[in-house]
Symmetry: C2
Subunit: 372 residues, 2 copies
């Protein structure tokens, strides 16, 4: 009946008494059982298909399910069972292709395994990872996948290790994806790749082309990824008995803007000396550097060679196409989920580490050093 007042009849905030006629309502196993004339146990068994049920009984149940439009209540199922069929993934920013592709791999593998993904982003907030792991623990995610290079700070690593133990207690697992292991006694899975080796390989390629003064741009000291890449850069020089001019190592956030601005500045003020090659700590940095070089009237690769890291699609799309280190990002995401599934098999196995391979992709942004 219409409300006497002209106000819209919106549900008053009366306390929800159980089943007061209004309020949300969806069919339950109970109702399906009644409709099919069987017990709830039987309904559960046909729903899960994990136990023999007479063909005829099964049919009656399936019929009832259809008629009532029944859908299982995942929370009730998770509470009664032991798994939530959910995996959590924590990235810095879903819009960054590095994270985006890994997240895509995680999603796809999870979907194939009948799981759903809880995706969280830290947006670079310090400690954001920790809080998100806690939220995901509340959700009892079957696994929590933390993506990307981690902070090297020992205090932080200890906190992360605590989370790993807590998750493991709960029967879940922490999986580090693109980050080195925490410690031997920490129950966590790891999917990693060889940053040092990749940086070594691409630096050595440049060195082999006759380049000696390579400007290395990008990376923050606390990040494991950065330290490993710089280490590879240095080692390549060392392998050939060459020295690195420290002025050529220019740290900063992994961003296109950094590549652009730092390159432009060094070109302008010459404070790092000359250079005829640029190593961007990731593809974005490299592309930013390319733009600055071009604006300064330098040709790529005739005057300056440029390389990146990661091989996101952008690398192949710019002109000239960028020489870089290929990372199987999507595969890393898939691997992380597979590893988590494997680990749950063990009651509390040791840390398990999986390595994925990388390789240098030579495109058009590199050439032999100009004769000086």
């Amino acid at each position: 009946m219409p409300t006497p007042q002209g106000k819209p009849a919106r549900a008053s905030r009366a306390p929800r008494t159980p089943r007061d006629g209004a309020g949300p309502k969806r069919a339950t196993v109970q109702e399906v059982a009644e409709a099919a004339g069987v017990s709830t146990a039987t309904v559960s068994r046909v729903l899960n298909g994990n136990y023999p049920v007479a063909a005829d009984t099964r049919r009656r149940v399936e019929q009832a399910v259809r008629t009532l439009g029944y859908v299982v209540n995942a929370q009730a199922r998770a509470l009664a069972g032991s798994r939530t069929r959910t995996v959590g993934i924590i990235v810095e920013d879903i819009i960054d292709p590095f994270f985006g592709f890994i997240a895509r791999g995680v999603q796809r593998q999870a979907a194939e395994d009948g799981k759903l993904c809880l995706v969280c982003s830290t947006y670079g907030v310090a400690g954001g990872e920790l809080d998100l792991i806690d939220s995901l623990r509340e959700q009892r995610a079957d696994a929590v996948i933390v993506v990307g290079g981690g902070v090297e700070d020992p205090a932080y690593r200890r906190k992360l290790a605590d989370r790993a133990h807590a998750l493991n207690q709960d029967g879940s697992w922490l999986v580090l994806c693109g980050r080195p292991p925490l410690a031997a006694d920490v129950p966590a899975g790891v999917v990693d790749y060889d940053n040092t080796g990749g940086a070594h390989a691409i630096t050595d390629y440049l060195l082999g082309q006759g380049h000696r003064r390579i400007l290395y741009i990008g990376g923050l000291d606390q990040m494991s990824v950065h330290r490993a890449r710089v280490a590879g850069f240095r080692r390549a020089y060392a392998s050939r008995g060459l020295e690195v001019d420290e002025r050529l190592i220019q740290p900063g956030p992994f961003s296109r803007r950094l590549g652009y601005e730092r390159t432009a500045q060094l070109l302008r003020d010459g404070s790092a000396g000359q250079f005829a090659a640029v190593f961007g700590a990731n593809d974005g940095v490299a592309v930013g550097a390319m733009q600055a070089l071009r604006e300064a009237g330098l040709r790529i690769p005739q005057d300056v060679s440029v390389v990146g890291y990661d091989d996101i699609p952008l690398a192949a799309e710019v002109t000239p196409a960028l020489t870089t280190v290929h990372l199987p990002l999507e595969q890393m995401g898939r691997e992380a989920v597979r590893l988590a599934v494997a680990l749950r098999g063990e009651s509390d196995g040791p840390t398990d580490t999986r390595h994925v391979g990388t390789h240098v992709v030579i495109r058009d942004s590199t050439a032999p050093a100009p004769a000086s």
Copy 2:
């Protein structure tokens, strides 16, 4: 004790009897209550902070929580309460910036509201949306946000409407983001923008620059977004009393590759006649077209003007920077979550539609038509 055989001591698949010593174990409210010397009701009340509790009692409980490392069990909470504090979002592909930015907005707003996001992708599989909505319904997501242009097929829209009703039954809501409403009687939220108006505006801008033969590339007939954009394109011509040469409308998937290949082909075989402007149905298509034009020796914008749609970062990064229609993608995502929250306030309100504004961004890829 070590297993007699040399095999690794992995937990045998014995049936999990309740609390058999091994197995995952985490503290419960029960245990916190005992440790604090109060009832579980009281623990729940301090945890949720939604009810007065004596300061001293509160302290004891908080202490116990800390000591035991207690974390709430979200499934149990959701089962006992009525909300899951979870929102589901369905996109085509998280790696596509159009979807990525919307997903980011959804995530951020959800995080601010204390909710977690279940992110799903269809990867363009027909009907994928429907299945994913069902999964999200199992999860009892507080809202299910479906992103991007929808299929116009009436049968499909009917199925979607069924899902909307089902969700509404459950006390949840379907929210369409970047897609027109289904029908007046369907309980679903809508966050949309004016595709026709945007396409009209940017086409009119080109027309105002003296262009008459504008090549329109991209879009599939079944997609609502495409139909609306083409309608705007046509209307701009009509407003000025001009005719559209149908050969200049070239449909296809929204992809960089389409822009590149179709443009290259038309330049080669001339089957669409001449054109001195290209309207890419989205920025990716436009950038692909730019590449083909450049390879054909044409200058942008001196010889050919190019415009796109969406204004993803790529648009500002290419050279010359692309004139396009700006969409507040991240804001759309946020709006979708806010709308969902608002809708849950009503027991079953009518369809609620929110419009976000768009505008043309003029950059360097457009210029007056060359004198012919």
